[in-house]
């Protein structure tokens, strides 16, 4: 058995029909204007007896308008796709239960799914009992003049009820008088019958769900070189390599770029004219308040629980929880999940990576002790195994092979020889000499190293030929998302 549901839909139609037929009146010979009662016609016998006070002596009153449903039929010409589901997104205003009033703030949000209702044509009848012809003329003139040919018939004022509106049309199949003319022996009561039709919908319940809006659309577009039908038909590659050069279309609200710096995320206004790397974030015109985004999803953002997910060019997403800076709503404070940050690349004292054969796990490290400028930093008496990233060349000069050449004292080996160290190299003190464990001039792989002096991880990008913070920087529009 199906679960019971009932919404009183036909009841509302008949209620509104009676409303339309109400408040008509007649004027008697002395000028009194008297309202004609209108009521539902198909009455229960017990109710009728109670209304009659259970007495034969109670008298009915005339004139009287009685309304009822005469017929209802399935309306096949109005049949539409029965499987169609319409979705509508509704945001309510917040409601103050104490004062029983709506507030100026956003409240609950819903997505309402409505399935295609079933079309019917309902025929209403209005029987008008009058005690004389003058009453009938008066009532007919009032009723007939407002139907030209129809009136709106609306059962609810609920915005999401797409079945609520119909039209009530006065058709021509009514009966002017129930009496025989001439009347003969009997004096029956005189009933005028008016017939109305209304196209209506009978609908099952809706689904009311939490508001769900598509906020990011990723659409793979497969590009293929132009060709002719014939050549593509004969070209196997057209099939096997179809989509070999995929492009991706990403739609995001606001088209914001994201600047992640020092555990703070800032929304960067997108502009076709600006270079991503050249944004002045101190200019208010270039940044936006996080409220412009978060208010699209009211009551979803929870400080320290909602996540920001960054998609680096290589590797899995980096996840951080967010909290809005209470003093500046353009700043989102981040706490990174360290498990999602890329792992450091282990390099041993021989310069071998953990993926290389012969890697010495005993001396392998993914960290450096500091990043130093060798022109201003003196390692003095370094401990064995200490590692630095150096920012400038050491002893990379044309006079290096000159026997008279004497390099900087701070960077001499134990035997007073001068090591040649390139900028961006990672160098390690072996106890007797400086050795290069990472050579920036020959490195071809992405390398992650953490500076344990500051705790910041850096990435060597062979394309850029420079060290940069591993995941901080500007993420473009498609490379970040919020999980609220």
């Amino acid at each position: 058995m199906a679960d019971h549901f009932y919404d009183g839909q036909l009841r509302r139609y008949i209620t509104q029909f009676i409303r339309v037929m109400s408040n008509f009146s007649y004027k008697d010979g002395k000028g009194n204007v008297i309202q004609v009662p209108t009521r539902y016609g198909d009455m229960n016998r017990q109710v009728a007896q109670i209304l009659n006070k259970n007495s034969e002596n109670v008298m009915p009153s005339a004139p009287f308008i009685s309304c009822y449903i005469k017929d209802i039929k399935f309306d096949r010409p109005r049949l539409q796709d029965p499987t169609f589901v319409s979705k509508i997104n509704i945001r309510e205003r917040a409601f103050d239960e104490n004062n029983q009033e709506y507030l100026n703030e956003q409240g609950a949000n819903y997505t309402v799914e409505r399935i295609m209702p079933t079309p019917y044509v309902v025929t209403f009848a209005a029987d008008i009992w009058t005690s004389n012809s003058e009453q009938k003329f008066q009532l007919f003139e009032q009723i007939a003049s407002i139907f030209n040919p129809s009136l709106d018939l609306q059962t609810t004022s609920n915005y999401i009820d797409w079945t609520s509106l119909s039209v009530l049309e006065l058709t021509d199949s009514g009966v002017w008088s129930s009496r025989q003319i001439p009347q003969g022996l009997e004096q029956d009561i005189d009933i005028m019958n008016m017939i109305f039709t209304a196209p209506i919908w009978i609908t099952p319940p809706a689904k009311v769900k939490k508001l769900g809006i598509i906020t990011k659309i990723i659409n793979n577009v497969f590009a293929l070189n132009n060709g002719t039908v014939v050549s593509d038909y004969q070209n196997l590659d057209a099939v096997t390599n179809f989509g070999s050069t995929p492009e991706k279309t990403v739609v995001t609200p606001g088209n914001f770029d994201l600047l992640v710096l020092d555990k703070v995320a800032t929304l960067i206004n997108y502009s076709f004219n600006q270079l991503d790397d050249n944004v002045d974030v101190t200019d208010p015109d270039n940044i936006s308040s996080w409220r412009t985004l978060l208010d699209l999803y009211p009551n979803k953002f929870i400080a320290d629980l909602s996540q920001l997910r960054l998609t680096p060019p290589v590797g899995p997403e980096i996840i951080a929880t967010m909290s809005l800076d209470p003093n500046d709503e353009s700043r989102m404070l981040l706490k990174f999940d360290t498990d999602t940050i890329p792992g450091n690349t282990l390099i041993d004292s021989n310069g071998l990576r953990d993926t290389d054969l012969g890697f010495d796990s005993g001396s392998g490290r993914g960290t450096v002790n500091a990043i130093v400028n060798p022109e201003t930093f003196n390692p003095q008496s370094p401990s064995v195994g200490i590692r630095y990233i150096i920012l400038e060349n050491v002893n990379i000069v044309s006079e290096y092979n000159d026997p008279e050449y004497n390099g900087p004292n701070a960077w001499k080996n134990s035997d007073q020889s001068d090591p040649q160290l390139y900028a961006n190299n990672i160098v390690e003190w072996s106890g007797t000499e400086w050795i290069t464990v990472f050579n920036s001039t020959t490195a071809t792989e992405i390398t992650y190293i953490t500076n344990i002096y500051t705790g910041v991880q850096y990435k060597w990008d062979p394309d850029q030929q420079q060290w940069s913070k591993s995941f901080e920087g500007i993420y473009d529009r498609a490379a970040w998302r919020l999980v609220l």
Partner: protein
Amino acid sequence: MQDLDFNLSQFGLFLNNDNIMMYFHLRSNVETLGRKIMSGDVIELPHLKDEYALDDSLVALKRFYVVQDVTRPTAGFSQTWYPHLLRAKCVPLVDSQEYKEILDADAGDGNSLRDLLSTYQKNIDINNQIIAQAEEDAPQSGYDTKSYFVIPTRENGLVDIADITSTDIDASTEQAITDASVVLRSPKKDFYVGYLTGDGVPPNGAPYDFGISFPANPATGSFYLRTDYMPNALYRYNGKLWIRYEDNVRMTMNNFGNQDVASGPFEEKAVRKTQKGTFINNTNTATIAGQVVPERQSLSKALKPKADN
């Protein structure tokens, strides 16, 4: 005496074939009434009084019949062939305008006979309850969107807020009672649009003023309802111009005229003012050539000469 059954019709209960024949002495009848009894005369039958009706007032309900036809019965002729009797065919009385004076008469306890015997008032009460329910279901034509929230958005779909980058004075900023650094602006357009959704009230419960001319120095985003337009038009100030936001096109679907709202359960409710309604529910007057004339006139009598008295 006869056995009768109730007939339940669309108008309520009727006694089926409740016709009774009553015989009157002709001369006595004329001496009493001054004429013969005739069709339309109403007769009270005291012996059919009902003391046990369902009635809170505990009043016995009287029985009334109305004469439908009067003839000379065959049994009323004497040996001289002169008639002495009248035969009246009587049917139950109905509360209609023909018997208004009888039913308006005092029943003795301050109530009229209509109050005690007629179903009229009960039917009117039922009718009013149905109208009240219909009004509860659909108070006005169109759709109510007052309880919905409209997020103000910019061209790119983002939330339109007034923050530190804003340079103009915003209505919602002025109205903000908190010291929040960011407040929503008023929406530039309504999100919930459809057939008859305009109600002349700003979205999100925003404050507004009304009148027949726009105020000077309005704040950006403020609303103003022009009541000199029909239907009333709601405008929003965008910083440079007053932009029409919506018209108040929703109105009552009750079939009320002016007499319906003058008193009673629907006192002070709105009169139906559709286009056609303004022709019917029209109490306006016009002074034309020094004479006050009602706007509403029957088409057959309009502009005809009228008596001065």
